[in-house]
Symmetry: C2
Subunit: 202 residues, 2 copies
């Protein structure tokens, strides 16, 4: 990223703070007043340079149309919490959205991701506890041994997924539970997605 002068940095910071506080960008004259300048031109120059150098974007001729371009913008994505696993939940039914949680776009890069609340202690050795939220990326496959959300009939569970010759095994991370074994061709079992993150509130 190209260098900016100290003054330009001050202006950029003021714009950031202003947007943070008001939810809309400052006008050129707002900035002018803040810095005690006697002309709008100076401000305009600063903005033009910040745009040239890639720190700001704007729509010309439009009021308060400044946007700060953040370094690898930590955008947020609202991810729906759609239910609890290990209960007979109507997966992916929009009616069942309990809440939306904002998640770093880093974590939820794909469209269609969702949260499930985990019920029970079957994954306790994978450090997923009862009540934890898992972030799921929908996909029809996972790598050997990855933690997946699997639908068996009308129920869904979180398990480690293994595929061998002609069978599929779902392993709990708890010695009290024995692996669930299915035939390779059983239509009743389907991978819903891969667990990509775990969230817990204490």
């Amino acid at each position: 990223m190209r260098k900016i002068t100290d003054r330009q940095k001050q202006v950029l910071e003021y714009i950031c703070d202003f947007i943070d506080e008001h939810s809309y960008a400052p006008s050129i004259r707002d900035i002018q007043k803040h810095f005690g300048l006697k002309s709008t031109k100076g401000v305009k120059d600063h903005i033009d340079r910040l745009v040239e150098k890639g720190y700001l974007s704007r729509t010309e001729g439009t009021a308060r149309a400044l946007k700060v371009i953040r370094d690898g913008d930590k955008a947020t994505r609202k991810v729906p919490l759609i239910g609890t696993v290990a209960a007979g939940l109507p997966l992916l039914a929009e009616e069942n959205i309990e809440d939306y949680l904002p998640v770093s776009a880093d974590m939820a890069r794909t469209e269609g991701m969702f949260f499930l609340r985990v019920n029970g202690d079957s994954m306790i050795n994978a450090a997923i506890l009862d009540g934890d939220l898992v972030l799921v990326r929908p996909q029809p496959f996972v790598e050997q041994g990855e933690i997946a959300v699997v639908r068996i009939g009308d129920e869904a569970t979180v398990k480690r997924f293994f595929r061998f010759n002609t069978r599929v095994e779902l392993h709990s991370e708890n010695p009290d539970y024995t692996p669930i074994v299915y035939s390779d061709e059983d239509e009743d079992i389907r991978i819903v997605g891969k667990v990509t993150a775990v969230f817990r509130t204490l």
Copy 2:
């Protein structure tokens, strides 16, 4: 929340979408054009009513100063990741901020919260693994047995905190580690804050 008409709902949705796309709010005339209206007055009326009914807030006389008031706004807070625990880290030093992660404002209600990356397996039985991020609320006390970030001299650790008569005990959640015992009055030990959430990316 007071009811709004279908038309008002349409306008509100358009405003939401516009802000989503442009990062700045539409002008009255933007909205007018979108709905194919021939006067600005109608739009103004809608906005006034949406403000009255609590769905919008605005700064009068200011261009593009609309703000959508979201239902129990799932706002986001940028929480800094300031280092790794169990290393001799200069805690809370702003220079050490590695990154900012957006977190649901529900989780980070307090000012000054921060993330620490947990190093090691000393809390494995509390389902906090090596590499997990813990969200910390700075406070000088915790309840008996809660998980806290504690500073011992120049180092910090995550441990369950217990205070007995004249001593303080820090318990790991791993049988391989023995509790650390300190005198009640030892100046060298201090509670930094309470661990309020755990985040893990798989």
